[in-house]
C-alpha cells in the first residue's frame, strides 16, 4: 500500500479525517519550505499538497497567484521543488506529498524525466490542474506505472457522465472543488457539496477530498462531516503572506492545529 492509501486507511480506522494543507514551494523563501512542511505535519496535517509555482496560474485566485509570483521571484523551478520533497523525505517517510501545478513546467522538464525524479524523491501523487482526463490518458498511465497516484479534480459543474470518466483514471483521492470559481473565493454552499458528494460516492471508490473556499475551523469541520479529506489552501497562503518571518512557523502551526481540532470534534 502506498503512502496515500495507507494514510487514508489509517485515519479511517481511527475514525478521523485527512487534513491537507496546501503551500507553494519556495514561498516566502525556498529555505522555509521544508521546515514548514514538518511544522504542518506536527500541527496535525496528514498529507501535504505542494504547489509548483507557475507564471500563469489560470485556475487560481489572486492569493495563490501572488504566492506563485513570490516563489518565482526566488528562482524556484520544478527541479527545486522535487529536491525539497527529497529533503523532506530524509526525516519524514510517512506523510504523503502531492505536487500540484500546471502542465507547462512539467512538459518543459520532460514528462519521463519529471516522473522518474519525482518518484525517486518520494512524491506520492501529482495533480496537474490543466490536464483534464480528455488529455491525460497516457499521462495517468505513466504515473500509475511509476507508482505515483494521478490526482484529478471534480467540480460542481461536472456532470455524472464525466465523473465516471474521471473515476477511470483517478487514483489516491479525488479532489472535489467545492465552489464555482478560482481558489480563494468565498461562497461555499454546504448543501450543494453534500448533494454532489452523495452522487459522486455512488460512482467512485477512492476517497474524496474537498477544497476551495474553506477558510475557518467551522467550515473545515462541516466539510469533514461530508468528505474524507479537507484541503486548506488560500487561507494558509494568506497567513504566509502576512506573518513576520520569525513567527511564520508558529502562526501556521496554530492555524493548522485549530483546523485539526475542529475536524476532530466528535459532536
Amino acid at each position: 500500500m502506498n503512502r496515500i492509501a495507507a494514510t487514508f486507511s489509517k485515519l479511517k480506522s481511527a475514525n478521523q479525517k485527512v487534513l491537507i494543507p496546501f503551500i507553494t514551494a519556495g514561498d516566502p523563501k525556498p529555505e522555509v519550505t521544508v521546515p514548514l512542511m514538518h511544522t504542518l505535519v506536527k500541527a496535525g496535517a496528514n498529507l501535504i499538497e505542494l504547489g509548483v509555482p507557475f507564471s500563469d496560474p489560470m485556475a487560481d485566485g489572486p492569493t495563490i497567484q501572488r504566492s506563485s509570483e513570490r516563489a518565482l521571484a526566488n528562482g524556484v523551478s520544478l527541479a527545486n521543488v522535487i529536491a525539497m520533497v527529497a529533503e523532506f523525505r530524509k526525516t519524514d517517510t510517512l506523510t504523503p506529498v502531492v505536487l500540484m501545478g500546471y502542465a507547462n513546467p512539467v512538459e518543459a522538464m520532460g514528462v519521463d524525466h519529471f516522473i522518474s525524479t519525482a518518484k525517486e524523491s518520494g512524491v506520492d501523487g501529482i495533480l496537474v490542474v490543466d490536464y483534464p482526463p480528455e488529455e491525460s490518458t497516457e499521462w495517468a498511465q505513466q504515473l500509475s506505472a511509476a507508482g505515483i497516484d494521478p490526482i484529478f479534480l471534480l467540480s460542481p459543474t461536472t456532470p455524472i457522465e464525466r465523473v465516471k470518466q474521471v473515476a477511470k483514471l483517478a487514483q489516491g483521492y479525488l479532489y472535489y472543488v467545492s465552489l464555482k470559481g478560482v481558489t480563494g473565493a468565498s461562497h461555499l454552499d454546504l448543501t450543494e457539496v453534500q448533494t454532489k458528494l452523495a452522487q459522486v460516492r455512488t460512482l467512485v471508490s477512492i476517497p474524496i477530498g474537498v477544497g476551495f473556499g474553506i477558510r475557518d475551523p467551522q467550515t473545515a469541520k462541516a466539510i469533514s462531516k461530508l468528505a474524507d479529506a479537507v484541503v486548506i489552501g488560500s487561507r494558509i497562503i494568506e497567513e504566509i503572506e502576512k506573518a513576520p518571518e520569525n513567527s511564520l512557523l508558529e502562526t501556521l502551526s496554530s492555524l493548522v492545529s485549530s483546523m485539526r481540532s475542529a475536524i476532530d470534534e466528535t459532536n
Binding site: 507557475f54 507564471s55 500563469d56 496560474p57 489560470m58 485556475a59 485566485g61 489572486p62 497567484q65 501572488r66 509570483e69 518565482l72 523551478s77 520544478l78 527541479a79 500546471y102 502542465a103 507547462n104 513546467p105 512539467v106 512538459e107 518543459a108 522538464m109 490542474v129 490543466d130 490536464y131 483534464p132 480528455e134 488529455e135 484529478f152 479534480l153 471534480l154 467540480s155 459543474t157 461536472t158 456532470p159 464525466r162 474521471v166 472543488v177 464555482k180 470559481g181 478560482v182 473565493a185
Partner: protein
C-alpha cells in the same frame, strides 16, 4: 492529398490545440462546442451572420492594388485586403459579431473579453452594445495606460473595463483574469476570446468566423485578376487575421502562406514576440502550442511595438501549419514595421495598424526579389489611428 479537415473532434491540430483547462471549465467548453457545431450548420444563424457582416460591419472589404508602392519597390505587385475598412477599424469585429450571435442564442446576458491593445475589447464592446448585452473587458493595467483612448472608446460603448494588476499586467494576464471570471460566472456569462487560441472550440470557431476574409479574397482574386495570388502575407500575434485569410487556401498548395511575427528589437534580443520563429511547444491558456518560455517552462514577457502582437503564445493551428510546412513564419522588427508604416502612409495614403505593418514590411522585403508579374496579397488587418501616440513617441514627437 485528402482535403484538410482539422481540428479533430477533440480539437487537436496534430499534436497541438486540445482542451487544457481545469475541470471547472470542461462542461462549459463542451456546451459551447455542441452549440457552436449546431449553429455552424444552422441556415438561419449563418444568414443572420452574413447580414450583420454586410450591413453592420460593411463587408465585403475590397482588395486594393498598392501600385505606387509596388512600383517603388520594383518587384512583385502588392495587393491589400482592406480589413482596416471594417466597422471599428480592424478584422476583430468579424469574430465578435459571430460570437455575440452565438451568445444570444445560448441565452447569455453577459459577455466578457480580454484585450491587449484594446481592439478586441472595442470590437466586443461594440457588438455587446449592438445586442444589448452587459460587457466586461479585462485589460492589463500596463495596457490600460498605453491605450487610454481605446479604454475610453470601450466605456463610451457601455463596457466596464477592469484593469488587471497580476503578472506582467499585459494581454496574457488579462486572458488569465477573463478565464477566472468565466469559471466563476459560467452559467450567465459568455467568454468572447479574440483570437484563434485558447481551449477547443475557440481556435476552430474564431477561425471559421474570420474565414470570411479568405473566402472573399478567393472570389475577388478570381473575378478581378483572373488568378489567385502567389503568396498570402499576414501578421501573427495570436493569429486570427492570418488564419482567416489562410484557411480557405490550405488545400491550394500553389499559394504560399507567410505569417509574420513581431521581431521586436530583434529575435536575439529577448525583446520580441516571435513565438513560432523562436519558441518551443508547451501548454498555455488551454491549448498546446508554441510558446515563448524559459528553460523551466515559465512564460516570458514579450515585447513588440504593436500591442496586438505582444503575446507569448500563438494559435495551435499555426503551430501545426508550421510543423507540416504548409505555412512559413518569419519575424519583422519594430524598426522594419515602422518603416513600412511610413511607406504606406506616403505612397498610398493609407495609415496601417502597427500590427499589419509587420506584414507590409515583409511584403516590402519579398517584393524586390520577385518578378513584377507576381502578386503578393497582404492582409491589411487594421487601420493605424489607434497607433498615433506610439508612432509619434518613437519618432520623438510630443503633442
Amino acid at each position: 492529398m485528402s482535403a484538410y479537415n482539422l481540428p479533430d473532434e477533440k480539437g487537436h491540430f496534430g499534436p497541438y490545440g486540445g482542451k487544457f483547462v481545469a475541470e471547472t471549465l470542461m462542461t462549459a467548453l463542451e456546451e459551447l462546442r455542441t452549440q457552436y457545431l449546431y449553429y455552424q450548420a444552422d441556415k438561419a444563424f449563418q444568414t443572420e451572420f452574413a447580414y450583420e457582416l454586410k450591413h453592420y460591419v460593411g463587408r465585403p472589404t475590397p482588395i486594393y492594388h498598392a501600385k505606387r508602392w509596388s512600383d517603388h519597390l520594383g518587384g512583385a505587385q502588392i495587393l491589400l485586403k482592406r480589413e482596416d475598412l471594417n466597422h471599428t477599424g480592424a478584422h476583430k469585429i468579424n469574430n465578435t459579431v459571430g460570437q455575440a450571435l452565438l451568445a444570444k442564442r445560448m441565452n447569455k446576458k453577459r459577455v466578457i473579453a480580454e484585450t491587449g491593445a484594446g481592439q478586441h475589447g472595442v470590437a466586443t464592446a461594440t457588438v455587446a452594445a449592438r445586442q444589448g448585452m452587459e460587457c466586461v473587458v479585462y485589460m492589463g493595467s500596463e495596457d490600460v495606460k498605453r491605450q487610454a483612448m481605446n479604454v475610453y472608446r470601450m466605456k463610451l460603448l457601455g463596457a466596464q473595463v477592469i484593469p488587471v494588476e497580476s503578472g506582467s499586467r499585459t494581454l496574457k494576464d488579462a486572458l488569465n483574469e477573463a478565464m477566472r471570471d468565466w469559471v466563476t460566472n459560467v452559467e450567465s456569462t459568455y467568454y468572447i476570446i479574440g483570437t484563434v487560441a485558447g481551449p477547443h472550440p475557440y481556435p476552430m470557431m474564431v477561425r471559421d468566423f474570420q474565414a470570411i476574409i479568405g473566402k472573399e479574397v478567393k472570389d475577388q482574386m478570381q473575378q478581378e485578376y483572373g488568378r489567385q495570388p502567389d503568396a498570402l502575407i499576414a501578421c501573427v500575434g495570436g493569429g486570427s487575421n492570418a488564419l482567416g485569410l489562410f484557411y480557405p487556401y490550405i488545400d491550394d498548395e500553389t499559394v504560399r502562406m507567410i505569417g509574420v511575427e513581431a521581431g521586436g528589437k530583434g529575435i536575439n534580443s529577448n525583446q520580441h514576440a516571435a513565438t513560432l520563429v523562436t519558441g518551443r511547444p508547451g501548454v498555455l491558456h488551454g491549448n498546446r502550442t508554441y510558446l515563448i518560455q524559459d528553460d523551466h517552462g515559465q512564460i516570458i514577457e514579450t515585447h513588440s511595438i504593436s500591442a496586438g502582437l505582444d503575446y507569448p503564445g500563438v494559435g495551435p493551428e499555426h503551430a501545426w501549419l508550421k510543423d507540416s510546412n504548409r505555412a512559413e513564419y518569419v519575424a519583422i522588427t519594430d524598426d522594419e514595421a515602422l518603416s513600412a508604416f511610413h511607406a504606406l502612409c506616403r505612397f498610398e495614403g493609407i495609415i496601417p495598424a502597427l500590427e499589419s505593418s509587420h506584414a507590409l514590411a515583409y511584403a516590402a522585403k519579398l517584393s524586390p526579389t520577385l518578378g513584377k508579374d507576381k502578386l503578393l496579397l497582404v492582409n491589411l488587418s487594421g487601420r493605424g489611428d489607434k497607433d498615433m501616440m506610439t508612432v509619434a513617441q518613437y519618432s520623438g514627437i510630443t503633442f
